[in-house]
């Protein structure tokens, strides 16, 4: 981790920074920012460090599929909820990370899944 000083409009910001888990992490002015190293897009709070390929929606932890919200051939938009799963007593909505068409659906309601299992494949548009 590095400690740095950034001059902004005459005053000095003390910042901490580190590259780890495929992202640049920065702490400044009381909050933490991060962005993936390969992409130029910066988003506060979001840093999908286990980066999913566009169109690949995988289980980030072991759990159970509660609801499947899509079907093969369906057109979906980035942000649409495709699958709802339960892990550690909590429900997670797994959303599409691109606009496209559902190419494959590898799970059904009630299935138990392991970490990394590819749940839905979306063929990105364009």
């Amino acid at each position: 981790m590095k400690q740095m000083k950034i001059e902004v409009g005459g005053s000095e910001l003390k910042v901490f920074a580190q590259k780890i888990n495929g992202a640049l992490w920065v702490h400044s002015e009381g909050r933490t920012l991060n962005r993936p190293l390969t992409s130029g897009k910066s988003r506060r709070g979001r840093g999908q460090v286990s980066s999913d390929l566009p169109g690949h929606i995988s289980a980030l932890m072991p759990g159970k599929i509660l609801k499947v919200n899509c079907s093969v051939g369906q057109k979906v938009n980035s942000g649409d909820t495709l699958v709802v799963m339960e892990a550690m007593k909590m429900e997670y909505s797994l959303k599409s990370n691109c606009d496209g068409t559902v190419r494959a659906l590898n799970v059904a309601e009630g299935d138990q899944v392991t970490v990394g299992k590819l749940l839905v494949e979306v063929e990105p548009d364009g």
Partner: protein, 494 residues
Amino acid sequence: MDKISKLAVANRGEVAVRIIRACQELGIETVLLHSEADRESIAFRIADETYCIGSSEASESYLNIASNIQGALASGADAIHPGFGFLSENADFARACEDHRILFVGPSAQCIELFGDKISAKKLVIEAGAPTVPGYEGQDQSMQTLVAEVGKIGCPVIVKAAAGGGGRGMRVIHQIEDAESAIESAKRESIGAFGSDKVFLEKYIDGAKHIEVQIFGDQSGRVFSLLERECSIQRRHQKVIEEAVCTTLSEEQRREVSAAAQKIAEAADYRGAGTVEFLFHDGQFYFMEVNTRLQVEHPVTEMVMGVDLVKAQILTAAGRSLLWDSEELRPNGHAIECRIYVEDPYKNGLPSIGQLGACLWPYGPGRRFEIGFEEGDEITSFYDSMIAKVVVWDESRPRALIKMKKTLEECVIFGLQTNLPYLLKILDHPEFVDGTMTTKFVETHYPTGLQEEPIDQHDKELMDTIDQMISEGGASSMTLGQHVSGPSPWMAGW
């Protein structure tokens, strides 16, 4: 120490560190009973000895009675501290320790069993004269009787598993027509989760404060009340922020709930640390349950009452008396605890797993950190995602609130998402600031966590500038925005 020269820690994370440090200060050797995954943890590194009790799955390790006993015996431990969760409230485990002449740091197996059965617990409480929720706890479990009782109590009614806890095996009945299906559903979940379909009914109290009292029975059987904690900030029955004391209670209410908790503990001849939970609604307290273990949030009580609960537990298990004086046990100031979870608050708390990056904890007066992991440790999905607790103390609640916000803002945790932004939002919410929050706070105000905010130009430039500085290697100071556009080579191996 006489009876205990070596103690086995049957737990993990920050509480394992807490117990090990207490032992170090008491001159007791420690052995950590850990799973494979937890080789990467602070507790593993500071324990005198370590013993692997099984694979990372909790059922194979931390929930495996035989493995824990074997580990304690193999390492020659005189005592086991079960921490919280896992086997800490498992009467069979307490008994197994007894059978093998290992001191169990906690109450007796009987006490654990008594309070583990929610029906027998309620019976004891009613006999002790403490306030309970009107309900039905009869042996007659026929659907006919149960539905009739729902009618008598008057909706809304909650049906709960007698062998249950932690929010499972519960259903709320809003209309009498739904009673039968709700009861069936609760029984199904209960038998699956706890092996018994025995249920009881209670009037459902919506929108109450969760107020719990820390009690402690010393080796002579004397029960101390160490006053209350406010724990209404919960997400799906998992606490997030806790405080000592509850500043919306009057002195009289404080005395009332404290006395009730003490009576309950005395009636059970309780030894060691325990917590009596109540709901507080419309000026009334209603008994919920007794937790026969040390709780995660014990530090807030320690800071306000000036005690060390973990050492007290160990001393009590060893048959030693405490230095406490009831007359002198008076609250001073205010303490707040925030649990740090590695999860994404913008994705409804989705756990973040992987290698923990650099961490900077901003130490200072009245700031306490209970940390389980450090940079380089692999955080897995096998256990809950709490990696640390931040606790602050100050002379009043408003001051403690400011101190907590400053402290959290200064915390640096890289590599994994954390709930720091979520905690800061809650601490700023008018209902929290007022202290009027109930257990409905999270579901009302943050039902899906936080909404992501768009990145602003300033932050984008900040990230670009830092990117540039790192690439160039030399600079440790630069002006914002003063970066060269165009390809910048990454410094390999930085």
